[in-house]
């Protein structure tokens, strides 16, 4: 007898439907799985065997062939266990085969017969919706995550018996309600009210958050760079439903399970500086998303930016530019989305104390090396540079100057202005404006043009730097609620532009 079960494999972060066909016929007892399966799938044999027996079902002592179709697609991971077991039960008449047209099945099996959670449930639910399948059976822990997808009935079950009962027309466990993204959860417990001093960095953070600009925090050790960066997610607008879906899907593939099943807050990823290029942008075999993708719609925080290996930083260029990374493995191209805000932190020099209250002990050579590591292609994509100095004792004793809620309100208002202005374009924030959009969407006075031209002519500004200054000036004007950029907006933006103090004879224009 033959039975067919639909399940899904995850290709990058995209679901691909897989049909598990199980055929049972007379012959020497055997159980074979064919169809480009990886090691975890081949091991499913042992798990399925034990799980069926331990659930009180019968394991047919006949010749069993399971085929995973389409045969050309590489199947990865343990998510096929449940589908294989159910197919086997249906083929041996131990559960109704016709119900399998309405339900797709996704999950790993324990030897006891319990359904265990595995990566990619959200993607599987999306796959079910795209394939037009009404319901999806997943392990109970993953039900919340999978239920983020609308128009698919998600049944979270505990074990194989539960699946059989469900297919038998038994009472389906109450279908999990589609989870709502609740914006009140967004507020991080880290609040800007904890910050003392740091007036200028706070101003820069507000601008960065409002326009989605990449920012570099420079300052001596212990001055509060990390503390400030950690408070940035709280300033950003809440994830939209679509964004939450995208984030959860990536995280689900990477095996990160969120409380409540889905990502409610913007991701904040802070990989250590020893991270490899593959760890940062994704890769491996099978390819998994890297930190840049895990930070999608959130913040990628690179502490000690100058300590990161050059190849790792180089690898970030294209994802920053394109908002996605394409990884080619095994003759297939996988796309991982990478639209994040980059926050870098660095010491001003190798000893860490240049320009601070303590004397710096670095020579020009060391400084030049430090700046060379920072400069170049990556720095070119960072819009704002701000120094984080150690707060004075007086500032520490003073009351807080702002709070996350107050600043977030201004940021949201500025974002709203951007949404209105950029409606109908592919971009959402000022940071994403390219040269063409800048020309059409950024109005400035003659005085602004003259100031920028002056800076450009005197070598204080590169062509790329010119555009960056304009983008930031646009955000400053948005924060102030102005339609046109004023000279003051442009001047502030110039003062905050990214450039490196570079040795004795020149300042590198950026």
């Amino acid at each position: 007898m033959l039975a067919r079960v639909v399940t899904f494999t995850i290709d990058g972060v995209d679901p691909r439907p897989v049909w598990v066909e199980v055929d049972i016929r007379p012959g020497l007892p055997a159980f074979r799985i064919v169809g480009l399966a990886d090691a975890a799938v081949r091991e499913a044999r042992e798990r399925v065997h034990a799980a069926i027996l331990n659930s009180g079902f019968e394991f047919p002592a006949r010749r069993i062939t399971a085929n995973l179709a389409p045969a050309h697609l590489r199947k990865v991971g343990p998510g096929f266990d449940a589908a294989l077991a159910v197919g086997l039960l249906a083929a041996s008449g131990q559960c109704p085969a016709e119900a399998l047209e309405r339900w797709a099945i996704f999950g790993e099996l324990s030897l006891t017969g319990a359904l265990r959670s595995c990566r990619g449930a959200l993607a599987a639910a999306e796959g079910a919706r795209r394939s037009g399948i009404a319901g999806l059976v997943v392990p109970r822990e993953l039900a919340g995550e999978a239920a983020l997808v609308e128009d698919v009935v998600v049944a979270g079950v505990d074990d194989l018996r539960g699946v059989a009962a469900l297919l038998d027309g038994g009472e389906a466990p109450p279908p999990s309600a589609p989870a709502a993204v609740r914006s009140d959860e967004i507020i991080d417990e880290l609040d800007l009210a904890d910050v003392r001093g740091h007036e200028l960095p706070l101003l820069a953070l507000e601008i960065a958050a409002a326009g989605g600009h990449n920012i570099l925090l420079e300052g001596p050790p212990g001055s509060g760079k990390t503390m400030l960066a950690r408070r940035l997610p709280g300033l950003l607008p809440p994830l939209s439903r679509q964004e939450a879906l995208e984030v959860t899907r990536i995280h689900s593939v990477a095996g990160i399970v969120h409380r409540g099943g889905f990502a409610a807050t913007r991701p904040f990823r802070a990989p250590h500086h020893t991270v490899s290029p593959a760890g940062l942008v994704g890769g491996g075999r099978p390819p998994v998303p890297g930190e840049a993708s895990l930070a999608h719609h959130g913040i990628l925080f690179l502490d000690e930016l100058s300590e990161f290996a050059r190849p790792s930083l180089e690898a970030l260029r294209q994802p920053i530019e394109d908002g996605e990374i394409v990884i080619v493995r095994d003759q297939q191209a996988l796309r991982f989305p990478t639209r994040f805000m980059l926050v870098g932190a660095t010491n001003p020099c190798p000893c860490g104390y240049a320009g601070s209250d303590r004397p710096c002990r670095c020579g020009e050579l060391e400084l030049a090396r430090h700046h060379r590591r920072l400069s170049g292609p990556l720095l070119d994509r960072i819009d704002l540079l701000v120094t984080v100095a150690r707060p004075t004792a007086a500032a520490l004793a003073a009351p807080p100057r702002t709070s996350t809620a107050a600043m977030r309100e201004r940021v949201l208002a500025a974002r709203e202005r951007q949404d209105v202005r950029l409606a109908g374009t592919a971009v959402h924030t000022n940071a994403q404006l390219d040269a063409r959009l800048l020309r059409t969407h950024v109005r400035m006075s003659g005085a602004v043009q003259r100031a920028l031209a002056h800076a450009y002519d005197h070598g204080d500004l590169s062509a790329r730097g010119h555009d960056r200054v304009l983008r930031v000036a646009r955000t400053i004007a948005d924060l102030a609620g102005r339609d046109a950029i004023t000279l003051d907006d442009a001047l502030q933006s110039l003062a905050l532009r990214t450039r490196m103090h570079h040795g004795s004879d020149e300042t590198v224009a950026a």
Binding site: A354, G355, G503
Partner: protein, 380 residues
């Protein structure tokens, strides 16, 4: 003395400058560079080594190779070196050349040939102008860099030529200051004139070649050795009428240059520093020993020209800030007074955005610059 040989050569009308004898001498120094290095490291007969005539030099330093070197010396074809210089756009001025700088000729051991690369017209202009050497520590502090840059800028703006060694730190800052106002500047190199040393200053090297000139004692292609740096310093000292030491530790090479300059009868001056700063030990000691104290370009001009200096520098500072709005001028004065971060300038309840915009305006006009740690300094 090989100097005599040179006169004989020209006297006999054998060659036009650069004459064969001088080129041969120059070749020999480069050929013996390694041997000189050994002798120099061993502190054996360091002084006066370069005053020896060719044959004695070979005998003294050649060691086991002296016969080989003597033969090579005889076979050396000056025409090859001349061709190479022409091909690389390098002018070779030998001691018999009337254009050879008179200051350098005063040395006890003047280079046989000075190789000049860059803008020859500017070079000759620099030789007729007054020249000030600005030297200092490679690991100069922000303060030292600002002083060197300010002196370079101010003196070059007053029409003087700025001479230095294109080393990291103070030297490069001095050249940079002079170039910033498109002034005259000469870099004396410790290697051949076609090599940018240190390599990280290649861009500066190219800018100097375009707007000034580099000068070297060693023929093209010669790499620098340790002894070449003090040797280079004597040329810096000899080329200039006055030397200003910006920052120098207790046993700095800049102090050697200052000593050589004093022996040549040049004016020696120094920029003072904090008495506790290691890099001010050398300069403060110079001042204690009677060197002129330098607070800015004006002091150097007065040292050189006395009361006439006022006419040269018609208060450039006044001029640069003449049309500044009063609030910008006040802000710049506060930066000059050491209130140098945005937060400090804005004060406890100040408007950061206003200060940022004002600083950007000053920066655009080249009146302040943002240094390490977001600290602003005024440019002079």
């Amino acid at each position: 003395m090989s100097g005599d040989a040179c006169i004989v050569a020209t006297g006999a009308g054998v060659t036009e400058p650069p004459c064969d004898a001088c080129l041969r001498r120059s070749w020999l120094i480069a050929r013996l560079a390694g041997h000189i290095e050994v002798a120099w490291s061993a502190r054996r007969g360091r002084a006066g080594l370069l005053t020896l005539p060719d044959d004695e030099l070979v005998a003294a330093l050649g060691g086991a190779h002296r016969d080989v070197i003597a033969r090579e010396h005889e076979r050396f074809r000056p025409a090859d070196l001349r061709r190479r210089c022409t091909a690389d756009g390098i002018a070779a001025l030998c001691r018999c050349d009337p254009r050879y700088p008179t200051g350098v000729a005063e040395l006890a051991d003047p280079p046989a040939v000075l190789y000049v690369r860059g803008n020859i017209a500017r070079f000759e202009q620099a030789l007729t102008a007054d020249r000030v050497a600005i030297v200092g520590a490679r690991r100069a502090t922000e303060y030292g860099l600002a002083q060197a840059r300010g002196l370079g800028r101010g003196l070059a703006a007053a029409g003087l030529a700025v001479v230095s060694g294109m080393a990291l730190g103070a030297d490069a800052a001095a050249h940079g200051g002079a170039l910033a106002v498109d002034g005259l500047t000469l870099a004396v190199l410790a290697c051949g004139p076609d090599r940018a040393y240190p390599a990280s200053k290649r861009r500066l090297y190219e800018r100097i070649c375009a707007r000034g000139a580099v000068v070297a004692e060693l023929p093209p292609g010669t790499p620098p050795r340790r002894w070449c740096f003090p040797a280079r310093n004597r040329i810096i000292a000899a080329l200039a009428q006055a030397i200003v030491v910006v920052e120098a530790g207790e046993r700095s090479g800049s102090l050697i240059t200052a000593g050589q300059a004093a022996e040549l009868g040049r004016e020696v001056a120094a920029v003072p520093g904090l008495v506790t700063a290691p890099l001010a030990a050398g300069t403060n000691a110079l001042i204690a020993d009677g060197a002129q104290l330098v607070r800015g370009p004006q002091d150097v001009l007065e040292l050189l020209f006395g009361a006439a200096a006022l006419a040269l520098l018609p208060d450039a500072e006044e001029q640069r800030t003449a049309d500044l709005a009063p609030d910008l001028r006040r802000l710049r004065e506060r930066v000059a007074a050491g209130c140098d971060t945005v937060a400090a300038l804005a004060g406890p309840d100040g408007k950061l955005d206003v200060v940022l915009a004002q600083l950007a305006q000053l920066e655009l006009r080249g009146l302040v610059r943002r240094g390490a740690g977001g600290r602003y300094t005024v440019t002079t």
